[in-house]
């Protein structure tokens, strides 16, 4: 039982890192990415193949997974810059399907539907006794780091521009911002997090196959961000925990409820997720933790300092 809880929390941390990546792209910058599972796959395969075939060290494999996914995401965003919102979303879904098809068919590279097995785990020898606990701790640290990065980006002037172009890209352009360049960077940053999550997932299960990276996974991640509060990184973490809890807790229903088998569970799970989703969004349309409003506090009290913008102060006194 304990090891089950540990495994569930590890999965939650991995999903949370992925959800943070989506929140940067969609919540903060307003670009719908239906290709989350595809980017997740790129990170997972790049890390796994880098380690098993090219002999990269584990940290190098993870870095490669994050970096390659960031590059693909950034380039995809650049390539799709002329598409309007809905078309952009559809093409990202297509990208994910292309990634999965390649993983399925380019057997020389990916072993096709056999998948990649024996993916090495970091510091396995050192923590042999309670490796699952160690790995959970590592995932929590990586998720916390992703959270810190996403929060720093959100709170900085960079994040202010993202919110501006999410609201109205033309106004952001008139404000002097190169909209596409900001979008590309937001996509690359989010892609890095999703790719890192992919690398973590491969290590966790030590085995990946193309049929893990299906659109349903993308939907779960969207649910997590929406439930928690689109635009809020803290909400995204919370939403992910809830989605993983609901997904996993339904497993036990088969044992407890009479006459319920695995097939009914699989169907009921989707329904339960849907019901939770509707209930929470009825109560809190912005998600459980809506995007926080950044209150800008002045450092100095009103009359005290005239250091900055002296000419405006004098202009004001003219009138």
């Amino acid at each position: 039982m304990l090891s089950y809880v540990v495994a569930m929390l590890t999965l939650a941390a991995i999903y949370a890192t992925m959800a943070l990546g989506l929140n940067v792209m969609w919540g903060m910058a307003g670009m719908v990415n239906f290709g989350v599972a595809g980017f997740f796959a790129i990170g997972a395969y790049a890390a796994a193949l880098g380690e098993t075939r090219l002999g990269l060290p584990i940290a190098g494999g993870m870095l490669a997974g994050a970096a390659l996914t960031a590059a693909v995401a950034g380039l995809a965003c650049l390539g799709l810059r002329r598409l309007r919102d809905d078309y952009f979303a559809i093409v990202t879904l297509g990208i994910a399907e292309v990634v999965r098809t390649v993983a399925d068919n380019e057997i020389w590279l990916t072993h096709g539907s056999d998948g990649v097995s024996n993916i090495p785990q970091p510091l396995r020898g050192l923590f042999a006794a309670h490796y699952d606990l160690f790995y959970l701790a590592l995932c929590v640290v990586l998720t916390a780091a992703s959270y810190a990065v996403a929060e720093a980006a959100r709170a900085a002037p960079f994040g202010r521009v993202l919110r501006a172009l999410r609201d109205d890209p033309q106004v952001a352009a008139v404000a002097g911002k190169n909209v596409v360049w900001f979008q590309v960077r937001a996509f690359a940053l989010g892609g890095a997090m999703i790719g890192l999550a992919g690398a973590m997932y491969g290590q966790f299960t030590q085995y990946i196959t193309p049929d893990i990276f299906v659109p349903l996974l993308t939907i779960y991640i969207f649910l997590a961000v929406t439930l928690g509060g689109k635009g809020s990184n803290t909400g995204t973490l919370l939403g992910t925990v809830i989605v993983v809890l609901v997904l996993e807790s339904t497993r036990f229903a088969a044992g407890i409820l009479p006459g319920i088998g695995a097939v009914q569970i699989a169907a009921g799970r989707g329904m339960l997720i849907g019901v939770c989703f509707l209930a929470i969004l009825q109560l809190r349309p912005g998600g459980m933790l809506a995007e926080p409003v950044l209150r800008v506090r002045r450092a100095a009290p009103p009359q005290a300092s005239r250091s900055g913008g002296g000419d405006q102060a004098s202009a004001a006194s003219d009138t």
């Binding site: 980006a153 202010r160 501006a164 609201d167 800008v296 250091s307 913008g309 405006q312 009138t319």
Partner: protein, 278 residues
């Protein structure tokens, strides 16, 4: 900084010199034969005129004359089908909006487009130039340069809010403001950029009369600080009050250019307005 008194003398010598084709050093913004149509509607039909530096130039004309479309074309939001725009002697035709803003020419919007999920003060700070914290690496490491710039922008934004009497709503979301307050943000934001020239599209529309007068005062004091203006406005009292000269547009063309008194007494201008009203 130019002297207002000297400028006022120049003004009377301007006359109706539309259709500037050479790079006259006197002109800051030159609009040369701009054409633009939407399907069958010709919004700009070869409009040409020049705006001199250091002045407030009014741009008036009946509804649908093409004033906003002209602003869209000049500010890079729509590419004109023909014609050129020069700013400070450089051809800026077809450049993207951010490049035009960086060149020192910025526009406001007729229908206020405050960014709804940004607070009022964030709307202003967004327009500040050269914030190094817009680079991802600086944002993630919170460099001192970013924090210094942010503190300065915050101070400037705060003073701007003070001028526009928007301080009480500084931390409110822009979507929660009244229509008039949104118009004030439009002005405050573009001033935050500290541009050389501002295109204002109906800055006083929906603003109460006393605040409109105050706004006129702000525009004048900014002109005295060296910022040039091209102001679209239907409020003729405000135009007469603040404009050093006036350009009249009708049906996508420049009808005439001159002092407010000249324009007001011109037959063509009167028929342009009457023709539309009838």
């Amino acid at each position: 900084m130019p002297l207002p008194a000297a400028r006022r003398k120049e003004r009377s010598a301007i006359g109706a010199e539309h259709s500037v084709t050479s790079v006259a050093p006197a002109a800051l913004l030159e609009i040369d034969g701009l054409r633009l149509s939407f399907g069958g509607v010709t919004a700009l039909d070869g409009v040409s005129f020049a705006v001199r530096p250091g002045l407030i130039t009014g741009l008036i004309g009946p509804n649908g004359a093409g004033k906003t479309t002209l602003f869209n074309a000049v500010s890079g939001m729509i590419r004109p089908h023909a014609g050129r725009v020069r700013f400070d002697g450089h051809d800026i035709t077809g450049l993207p909006p951010e490049r035009i803003t960086k060149a020192g020419l910025i526009r406001s919007f007729q229908i206020a487009r405050g960014l709804p999920t940004l607070t009022v003060i964030e709307n202003l700070m967004l327009y500040g130039a050269e914030q190094p914290g817009e680079a991802l690496w600086q944002a993630l490491t919170r460099t001192p340069a970013m924090r210094r710039r942010e503190a300065l922008l915050r101070e400037q934004a705060w003073q701007m809010l003070q001028r526009l009497e928007l301080q009480p709503v500084a931390d409110n979301l822009a979507s929660d403001l009244s229509g008039g307050q949104k118009k004030l943000i439009e002005l405050g934001r573009v001033l935050m950029r500290r541009p050389r020239m501002i295109l204002l599209d109906e800055p006083a529309a929906g603003v109460n009369p006393s605040l409109a007068r105050l706004l006129g005062g702000h525009i004048r004091s900014c002109r005295d600080d060296g910022i040039s203006f091209l102001v679209v406005e239907h409020n003729m009292a405000l135009i007469g009050d603040i404009c050093d000269e006036v350009v009249v547009m009708a049906e996508g063309r420049c009808l005439m250019q001159g002092s407010f008194a000249e324009v007001r007494n011109d037959h063509r201008v009167q028929t342009a307005y009457m023709g539309r009203a009838a």
